[in-house]
């Protein structure tokens, strides 16, 4: 009898939840429905029966406002309480993305033909997208700094996926005011490798291909975790440092950054792991030399791809043991046909491959069959 009452109560609660009387507070949680996002900190997704709620909580570093969107197959058929939110009709048929990190999601979900324009076409490396560019299917909308307002309006996409900090906010606000929904993609603010990769789910929901996106992401997670597990059995922990100098200042990833986490997960010891923070460290050369002169590996010396290039740029680089023993690895060597870096485009979505690259460098015996994809040793 008691059990029946419980079931009855549950039934009532569930029908209330699934019913049309759902209220959403922009600052709070959405009762009854749980967030589908596990790793990413910058967005939340809630799947309701006739619509989906997307919350972008961290569009850029230090952003304080959360933007809420309602996505539906029929935007005219959503509860009145949600009418004030920005509405996006899904599946999206035409899109403008603004960062190369958005491109692989379109490729994975087989939606490259929906891409109508991009600022800085030369930066795109994907062969599939380059073919569409050559066929004049994708327009250039860069004005030299970012997205040109008039050109974007002219393309008239169903949605613009924005990327950038507070500085570009004004421009995107104009586009939004012109009636084109703008969704900020904060993948670049995420500081965990899997958190970055999870942003593919944003594209999944836009194209009504959530399942494909989730399957793909889960596979990346599984591969990543497996590789991390495998390398954790090794006993040695080679030391690693990163970054390069801009005039007098050395910039390197901070201890909680994406890079630092991948190094740790790959069984390496990042020399600045104790410097907490997710951004970049800026240090004087003296400090860097003192910390890293005898460090074994130098991974990610900014844009450099050869030892001679580095030596020309700065006379101090040759003082590091990693430079002398030729243990410097770069992510800048692999480029697309028009010169864009593959790393910048694809690594966000494929942290599993990046992790295996790091493992391959630091512990070559673990995955002997793996070939470096993003990383490459510097040439002479």
């Amino acid at each position: 009898m008691f059990q029946n009452k419980i079931y009855l109560l549950l039934f009532i609660v569930l029908s209330l939840v699934a019913g049309c009387k759902k209220t959403i507070k922009e600052t709070g949680n959405i009762s009854g429905i749980s967030n589908e996002i596990q790793y990413a900190k910058g967005f939340e997704m809630y799947d309701f029966e006739n619509f989906k709620i997307l919350k972008i909580t961290q569009p850029w570093q230090g952003a304080t406002e959360t933007t809420v969107y309602v996505l539906a197959n029929d935007v005219n058929n959503i509860p009145d309480s949600l009418a004030h939110l920005t509405k996006v009709q899904i599946p999206v048929k035409s899109i403008v993305v603004t960062s190369t990190t958005h491109i692989p999601s379109l490729v994975t979900l087989n939606e490259t033909t929906s891409l109508k324009a991009f600022p800085g076409l030369d930066f795109i490396s994907s062969e599939e997208v380059q073919r569409l560019i050559n066929e004049d299917k994708i327009k250039e909308i860069s004005d030299g700094i970012g997205v040109n307002f008039e050109l974007t309006i002219d393309v008239n996409p169903e949605v613009v996926i924005a990327n950038g900090g507070n500085d570009s906010f004004e421009k995107y606000r104009q586009i939004q005011q012109a009636g084109i929904p703008v969704i900020y993609n904060g993948d670049w603010v995420e500081y965990t490798p899997l958190g970055k990769a999870e942003w593919i789910k944003l594209f999944g929901v836009l194209y009504d291909k959530e399942e494909e996106a989730t399957t793909f992401f889960n596979q990346v997670v599984a591969e990543y975790e497996k590789a991390k597990q495998t390398v954790s059995k090794t006993t040695s922990k080679p030391t690693v440092f990163s970054g390069a100098m801009y005039e007098d200042i050395w910039y390197a990833p901070q201890g909680d950054s994406w890079t630092a986490q991948i190094i740790a997960d790959a069984g390496g010891e990042y020399v600045w792991a104790n410097h907490s923070g997710t951004g970049s460290l800026s240090m004087a050369f003296e400090q860097v030399l003192d910390d890293a002169q005898e460090v074994e590996y130098w991974i990610g010396p900014a844009q450099f791809v050869s030892y001679s290039e580095m030596q020309h740029a700065n006379i101090y680089y040759k003082e590091f043991t990693a430079f002398q023993t030729k243990k410097v690895y770069t992510y800048s060597a692999r480029k697309g046909v028009t010169g864009g870096l593959i790393f910048y485009e694809e690594a966000t979505n494929r942290p599993d491959i990046l992790l295996k690259d790091y493992i391959c460098v630091l512990h070559p015996e673990v995955f002997p069959e793996h070939e470096l994809y993003f990383l490459a040793p510097l040439t002479d």
Partner: protein
């Protein structure tokens, strides 16, 4: 000021210079015990191999570049102030730094307009030096051409200022269209840097500085006469046109080489000649010549030492430090000694 007092001040300043040199070597962003620094300098050994390199490979060349910069710019400033008989003149008054900035701006900021594949070649350290040299010499050449057409020195000053505005606007347009990263690189260049110079670079800088000050040494008599007015100097047998040429060439060599290697270092060239005049209370260029060299070197070494912020791993750009410390000092000196 009598001779013995002048000598005393020179001896005192020389001691300060030597002391500043060692302080500069001993203090840096990394705290290395002073005993270790001296052990590296005089015995060539240190507790850690990185310390050895920091002292001999990093701090020592930087200190020498600071001294060369401290010698060159005030001398160039003195030459310009005497040529134009204007206390506001400085080494860059002819537009040399604007020319250099424009050259570097084209390479750094304009690189964005090149295909991605070629961009990397445009941003190596040497391309900056070359662009800077090309920019300043282009302006120098234009100024030398202008001398033939222009009789009045004041007109030359205006032409220099006009060129600065022209180049400044161009740099502005390039900055507006460049990426944040390129803009940062350009801004950093404009902030100046005494480091990242090989001994080979330093040798070139030394030769240029030496050549510039030798020309200046031969000009001292003419400079003293010029201060009394161009027509007076002419009656005293000074060939004004030839002297102008020589002054501009010396300034071009001194300023151009420093700007190319170190960046457009502000303030020193304007301020040190004033400090020298106030300290020695003289208009005699022979005294001022040596005074500018010593005081300039001291100021640059001091600025560099302070830019390191001991105990912190941050460094301030040299250009910011020279102006932040220099400006209040010069203003207070000017208020105390109203006549310059």
């Amino acid at each position: 000021m009598n001779n013995s007092k002048t000598y005393l001040i020179f001896i005192f300043l020389s001691i300060v210079l030597v002391a500043m040199f060692f302080v500069n070597l001993a203090v840096g962003s990394l705290a290395i015990p002073v005993s270790e620094v001296f052990s590296v300098l005089f015995k060539g050994e240190a507790g850690k191999p990185s310390w050895e390199y920091i002292v001999l490979g990093f701090r020592l060349p930087k200190a020498i570049v600071a001294i060369l910069t401290g010698i060159s710019l005030p001398i160039a400033g003195m030459l310009m102030q005497s040529l134009f008989r204007n206390p506001m003149a400085e080494p860059y008054v002819l537009g040399l730094s604007s020319g250099a900035s424009l050259g570097v701006a084209f390479v750094v900021l304009g690189a964005g307009f090149l295909p991605l594949g070629i961009q990397q070649y445009a941003t190596s350290a040497y391309s900056l030096v070359l662009a800077s040299v090309a920019g300043s010499f282009l302006v120098l050449f234009a100024v030398l051409l202008a001398i033939n057409k222009v009789k009045s020195t004041a007109t030359l000053l205006i032409i220099g200022l006009m060129f600065s505005s022209f180049a400044g606007a161009f740099v502005g347009v390039l900055s507006y269209f460049s990426t944040a990263e390129d803009l940062k690189r350009f801004t950093f260049w404009a902030m100046g840097s005494l480091s990242n110079h090989s001994w080979h670079d330093i040798f070139i800088l030394f030769v240029a500085t030496f050549a510039g000050i030798i020309i200046c040494l031969f000009l001292i008599k003419s400079l003293n006469t010029l201060m009394l007015g161009e027509s007076y100097a002419q009656t005293m047998g000074v060939n004004i046109r030839k002297t102008r040429y020589q002054i501009i060439i010396a300034t071009g060599i001194l300023t151009g080489s420093i700007t190319a290697f170190v960046g457009p270092i502000a303030f020193i060239g304007l301020a040190v000649p004033h400090i020298s005049r106030i300290v020695f209370k003289t208009g005699n260029h022979f005294v001022l010549f040596f005074a500018n060299m010593i005081i300039g070197a001291i100021v640059l070494l001091l600025s560099d030492t302070l830019s390191q912020i001991p105990g912190s791993s941050m460094v301030l750009p040299i250009n910011a430090v020279t102006s932040i410390i220099g400006a209040p000092i010069v203003i207070s000196m000017l208020l105390k000694h109203k006549n310059i």
